[in-house]
């Protein structure tokens, strides 16, 4: 008896991305890059306990609001 997975493992939102050409993807990623930088996104390496390079970094630069990434303008109480 054939046993199918309960749901597909193919992520539909990726299918459109797969069908772009490399040049098209490059153009889109440049937009994402500009947006990320404009929002103050951090380019520091994310701590990754699985990465063999994790122990290579001498120190992690401190960042605004105690964590890397975005400048928070408003937040909930949580």
């Amino acid at each position: 008896m054939k046993k199918r997975l309960p749901i597909s493992t193919i992520e539909d939102e990726w299918l459109d991305w797969y069908r772009l050409t490399p040049a098209q993807r490059w153009k889109e990623t440049q937009k994402l890059w500009a947006f990320f930088i404009a929002l103050g996104g951090s380019l520091d390496p994310e701590p990754d306990s699985q990465s063999p390079f994790n122990s290579a970094y001498l120190r992690r630069p401190s960042s605004a609001h105690g964590r890397p990434g975005l400048h928070i303008i408003r937040r909930s109480r949580v």
């Binding site: 054939k2 199918r4 990726w14 040049a23 993807r25 994402l32 380019l43 390496p45």
Partner: protein, 224 residues
């Protein structure tokens, strides 16, 4: 290689750094140092840039401070697990034009797929998407090389079952090298998923073993 190559191959949308593989010899290292100087690159981790570390398999990590580079990180390696020598990587490379006058030399897709077989969850996700992206951008009539690549490297159960249905004889041949394809021939996606997980675990363990002495060396360098 790395995230930027994954974007161009369709496996990622965004990457915060750039990873390159270089030929580790004296002349090339001098050229690299000049290029890094022009980027105002600062070494931000251990080890420092030296042939001995690159040839051992370490990565050297930089941050570029030239205005316009936005402090992007650059990681340099010369030796990678599951990859052949730089000269072979270079011969097999893919050149991608992204705009008029702008092109990049990428590690070939088959080589990158092997390089991504590491101990990290995120690399396995990239590996899966690399092959999926190649599969979904396929021509109507894939050739033998493409079929063999998919049968050897796909990690998506339903795609393997689909291929096994369309190409049972080829799948049976490749199954001699990749036994889990027998599950694809049976159409058993559940068993296939479990077998893929076991296949992945073997590579993860091998990667941990490979990196163990290098990680010890990094710890020692870090505390010197």
């Amino acid at each position: 290689m790395g995230g930027q190559a994954c974007i161009l191959y369709g496996a990622a949308e965004f990457s915060r750094d750039t990873d390159i593989v270089i030929l580790a010899d004296e002349l090339n290292l001098r050229r690299l140092r000049r290029a890094l100087a022009s980027l105002k690159a600062e070494c931000i981790a251990v080890p420092p840039l030296a042939l001995k570390w690159l040839r051992k398999g370490h990565a050297v990590h930089f941050r570029c401070h030239l205005p316009g580079t936005e402090n992007i990180r650059l990681d340099v390696m010369a030796k990678l697990r599951n990859a052949p020598s730089f000269n072979k990587l270079w011969k097999r490379r893919t050149t991608v034009a992204v705009a008029a006058g702008a092109s990049y030399e990428l590690v070939s897709l088959p080589d990158l797929v092997q390089i991504k077989k590491t101990q990290r969850d995120k690399d396995w996700l990239m590996q899966r998407r690399l092959v999926e992206a190649h599969y979904f951008s396929r021509p109507r009539r894939p050739g033998a090389a493409q079929l063999n690549f998919w049968l050897n490297e796909l990690r998506t159960p339903e795609l393997l079952v689909d291929l096994a249905k369309k190409y049972p004889q080829r799948t049976a041949r490749v199954a001699r090298r990749r036994p889990l394809l027998a599950q694809a021939l049976r159409g058993d996606e559940l068993a296939l998923q479990a077998a893929l997980k076991k296949e992945e675990e073997v590579e993860r363990i091998a990667d941990r073993i490979y990196w163990a002495p290098l990680k010890k060396e990094l710890e020692r360098l870090r505390h010197e």
